[in-house]
């Protein structure tokens, strides 16, 4: 539905504004309508999925505690691994989101002569972290195509990224890292027998897609140079809702853009939504203050219980015979303490 609307809308928009060059309907469709539609699906889908999670209640406070609780004053509590305050939980989440704290715990179980050894295994953590951070850097670097003037932080980021100044144009560290880390993640799926067993087609496709996007991007930057001015005009046009289809857009760039569109369209439907979901996990984003602060279940409802009165009725004779006081035998809560 939203796709149709967006496509129609953007075509009308192009029809209205692209004056300088006679773009064919086909060109407009591919360079303008498809990106807009993909973006619309990405945004709408992403928001829909996140809203759906956000609207589902969290009936119980169920943090997974990964450290000492806050109890007695002389016992040092783990304020990040078992936070007792909301701020602590925020800090714990920051560690998870920014540094992949939990993945850092990873170890590898190996059976040596009937004895399990749990060896260090930090490569998954390292490569995942490198992969995600490079993706973010690359994404932010792309802002220079969509914004005019280019914000200072984007230029600074790009200059840091090209810190080693190897080659012309200078090699971006993030480009190298994203490919290496991505290839590791892909190879791991193939080579590790456990991960191979549990991997599904979508797990491979997403990695192929991301590597394809990175690959075409790198090829365009270092080997099959594109007319950057044309790319920027297209991007800027899309960003400002005054789309134009400039001359000089290469086939490589087209492939790059289409892969990005496919990724955007697929994004809200599959596991890539972990981007939004990671923030909402109730085992991580809640404080371990269960006993000090009552947590409310919005749908808590009365249940059938077995009351003391029913219990006493059923066992009255036995309670009496055993000399255990019945309820009415103790008038109130002030009987003597022997």
């Amino acid at each position: 539905m939203s796709v149709v609307v967006t496509v129609a809308g953007s075509m009308a928009l192009v029809g209205a504004v692209s004056g300088e060059q006679a773009a064919t309907a086909g060109q407009i469709f591919l360079w303008v309508a498809v990106p807009y539609a993909a973006l619309a699906i990405l945004l709408a889908g992403f928001c829909y999925r996140v809203a759906k999670w956000a609207w589902s209640p969290v009936p119980f406070r169920i943090p997974t505690t990964c450290g000492q609780q806050k109890s007695l004053p002389w016992i040092r509590s783990a304020s990040l691994e078992s936070p007792s305050t909301g701020m602590g939980a925020v800090a714990r989440m920051a560690l998870e989101i920014l540094l992949f704290r939990s993945l850092f715990r990873n170890n590898r179980a190996e059976l040596h002569d009937k004895q399990y050894i749990f060896g260090e295994s930090k490569l998954l953590w390292l490569c995942s972290l490198a992969f995600h951070w490079s993706l973010l850097v690359i994404l932010l670097r792309h802002l220079r195509l969509f914004l005019q003037p280019v914000p200072a932080f984007v230029s600074v980021l790009a200059s840091w990224d090209g810190f080693f100044q190897v080659g012309t144009p200078e090699l971006y560290i993030s480009d190298v890292v994203v490919v290496c880390a991505g290839l590791y993640l892909l190879l791991r799926r193939w080579r590790d027998p456990l991960v191979r067993y549990l991997s599904q087609l979508a797990d491979y496709l997403v990695l192929f897609l991301l590597l394809g996007i990175a690959g075409t991007g790198i090829l365009m930057r270092y080997f099959f140079r594109v007319v950057l001015v044309a790319v920027k005009r297209l991007a800027l046009g899309l960003a400002t809702f005054h789309p134009v289809v400039p001359a000089g857009l290469s086939a490589f760039f087209f492939i790059h853009l289409m892969l990005v569109c496919i990724l955007a369209v697929y994004f809200p439907f599959g596991k890539l939504m972990h981007l939004g979901g990671a923030f909402l996990s109730p085992t991580r984003n809640l404080a371990n203050n269960n006993r000090s602060k009552r947590y409310i279940n919005p749908w808590n409802y009365p249940v059938k219980t077995h009351t003391y009165a029913e219990w006493e009725d059923e066992f009255r004779d036995k309670i009496k015979a055993a000399g255990i006081p019945l309820n009415e035998e103790q008038s109130d809560g002030t009987t003597s303490t022997d």
């Binding site: 759906k52 999670w53 956000a54 589902s56 209640p57 969290v58 009936p59 119980f60 169920i62 997974t64 505690t65 990964c66 450290g67 000492q68 002389w74 016992i75 509590s77 691994e81 992949f100 939990s102 993945l103 990873n106 179980a109 059976l111 009937k114 004895q115 399990y116 749990f118 998954l124 456990l194 991960v195 067993y197 549990l198 596991k271 939504m273 972990h274 979901g277 990671a278 909402l280 996990s281 109730p282 269960n290 006993r291 000090s292 009552r294 249940v303 059938k304 077995h306 003391y308 219990w311 066992f315 036995k318 309670i319 055993a322 000399g323 006081p325 109130d332 809560g333 303490t337 022997d338």
Partner: protein, 528 residues
């Protein structure tokens, strides 16, 4: 030595997980719930059946019941919906599950256990399933597969520690079991205790007079060892503290020695407390059945505290009991506004961490006593014991109760050694029998699931001569002895308060010849 009953080997997994076929082999599954207990609790589809039957006698509309139940739970639990959606199958959890490590069955990898349910969710509740046929169609074979694997998960949460999104298989297993309960697929080792606990007050259905007998027997035994007669207040109104323990403490060994430990402690400090024959079970097998059943069983604790007019509640050594008390009780059956903020009558310590729920863990209570020097201990009485501590899953990963029991052990025992760090604290391995999987017919799977734990015990057994595995969980105490006998013969299982009770010097006691088990004390002690 040991029969090669259980072979552990790490073969790379093969086959396609989409095939739901499972084999209910002797030793790796639990018997079905007896219809009388299912009926008593008002649960669905009571009937005689066994997992090995080809016809499980499901209700004719079972598929609709499951799908409706799934839909309902997706709406009620963000955890469930989120965990269904965001797994990226990174595999960090794969080798973290004790059942996977012990069985080599790839569907015991937490990610796969979730996938068994996720694949059905994907088919019926997502666009890619409905439009493109992703996921798996729900069949009776899948119900059998769910039963097999959701009763092969102890809800220990170890996988959740390593998951980058904190995906907690316990949540998934709990929902999976709720769904199975909707069509009457449950196990007797869970449902019978639930029915007993609901009606009589505790898992074994020990009635009030027998409860008292059992306590008196324990007091007699303690008197023989120490010459001191402890008081046995039961259902006494006006006491300051209600003490709730898992029922195994008063009917099973080695739990029983822990009870002797509590009794000695309470007498020695002169605690104004009462036991209850009604709230005679802290454990809550409702947790292994459904959230609703958890609440139904848990209600009696606050009800009894309110009736007796106590100020606060003290809880004994138990694992899943404390998951319920810490993470569910106040939400389900609170607020406990009829109680007071717990304050130790001996040290004056205010247990601020329990200021709302108003229930204190006995290890917190005792650690505080020891810190303030309120107890006289003779730790040399435990010198024949080289002790290690097994963190029970729930106190470790749902409470963060890690230092309190260790602090008690360091006071009470001179020889205390930790197991390797990847196997303790938040990374602790389950006993392999939690969440209702402890029956004898499931022995092979229990031994497999307990293998990683036993492995770590074996390590300290060989390195430091450890002969005692201390723990604070009734299921541990019930099942670890079998595990030790098989994998690490010569290691006994003890409660933390048993070891404390051994060391506790009581005012006016006779010279002790034995520990609480009636075993002779180390020679140096008796001749000192």
């Amino acid at each position: 030595m040991t029969e090669p009953l259980v072979q552990i080997d790490a073969k790379p997994p093969s086959g396609n997980w989409r095939d739901p076929k499972v084999e209910f082999r002797r030793g790796v599954y639990c018997y079905s719930a007896q219809p009388k207990h299912v009926t008593y609790l008002g649960m669905a589809n009571p009937r005689s059946w066994q997992p090995t039957d080809s016809d499980w006698k499901l209700p004719s509309n079972w598929k609709q019941i499951i799908l409706d139940g799934l839909k309902d739970r997706l709406k009620k639990y963000r955890s469930f919906r989120l965990f269904m959606d965001i797994c990226v199958r990174c595999g960090a959890c794969a080798d973290k599950c004790h059942f996977y490590l012990g069985s080599g069955d790839p569907k015991n990898m937490p990610v796969m256990r979730a996938e068994l349910l996720r694949s059905v969710y994907v088919r019926y509740f997502t666009a890619r399933g409905r439009l493109f046929g992703a996921g798996r169609e729900l069949t009776e074979e899948i119900i059998k597969e769910w039963f097999y694997y959701f009763y092969q998960c102890t809800e220990c949460r170890r996988c959740s520690v390593y998951c980058p999104y904190g995906i907690d298989t316990a949540e998934i297993t709990m929902i999976g079991r709720e769904l199975l309960n909707l069509i009457g697929c449950n196990i007797n080792w869970v449902i019978e205790p639930v029915a007993n606990c609901f009606r009589v007050g505790n898992h074994l259905g020990i009635q009030p007079h027998a409860f008292k007998d059992s306590m008196e027997f324990a007091a007699d035994e303690l008197e023989e060892i120490t010459s001191i007669r402890v008081e046995l207040p039961i259902n006494r109104k006006g006491a300051e503290v209600l003490f709730v323990m898992p029922s195994a403490d008063y009917f099973a060994t080695p739990h029983y020695y822990t009870l002797l430990g509590y009794m000695s402690l309470f007498h020695e400090i002169g605690l104004d407390f009462t036991y209850s024959a009604f709230a005679s079970e802290g454990g809550n097998f409702g947790l292994f059945t459904s959230h609703e059943m958890t609440k139904r069983l848990n209600a009696k604790i606050y009800e009894e505290a309110s009736r007796l007019g106590v100020k606060w509640i003290l809880g004994g050594e138990c694992g899943h009991m404390w998951r319920v008390l810490h993470q569910y009780m106040d939400t389900m059956n609170g607020p406990a506004d009829f109680l007071e903020e717990p304050v130790s009558p001996i040290t004056g310590t205010r247990f601020e961490n329990a200021r709302s729920t108003r229930m204190v863990h006995i290890c917190e209570f005792t650690a505080d006593l020891l810190y303030h020097g309120k107890l006289k201990l003779a730790p040399q009485r435990n010198d024949n014991l080289a002790v290690t501590f097994h963190d029970s899953c729930n106190p470790a990963r749902a409470m963060g109760l890690l230092e309190e029991p260790r602090s008690i052990l360091r006071h009470a025992c001179n020889r205390f050694y930790e197991m390797p760090e990847n196997t303790i604290r938040e990374q602790t391995f389950c006993c392999g029998s939690g969440a209702g999987l402890g029956p004898d017919e499931n022995l092979e799977m229990r031994l497999r699931g307990g293998f990683p734990r036993a492995n770590a015990v074996k390590y300290v057994n060989e390195k430091h001569g450890v002969n005692t595995l201390a723990c604070i969980c009734a299921i541990d105490k019930a099942t670890l002895p079998t595990l030790m006998d098989y994998w690490v013969p010569g290691v006994q299982v003890a409660g933390v308060h048993e070891l404390l009770g051994n060391a506790l010097v009581m005012t006016g006691e006779k010279e002790r010849k034995t520990n609480l088990r009636g075993e002779p004390l180390p020679a140096e002690v008796t001749h000192a």
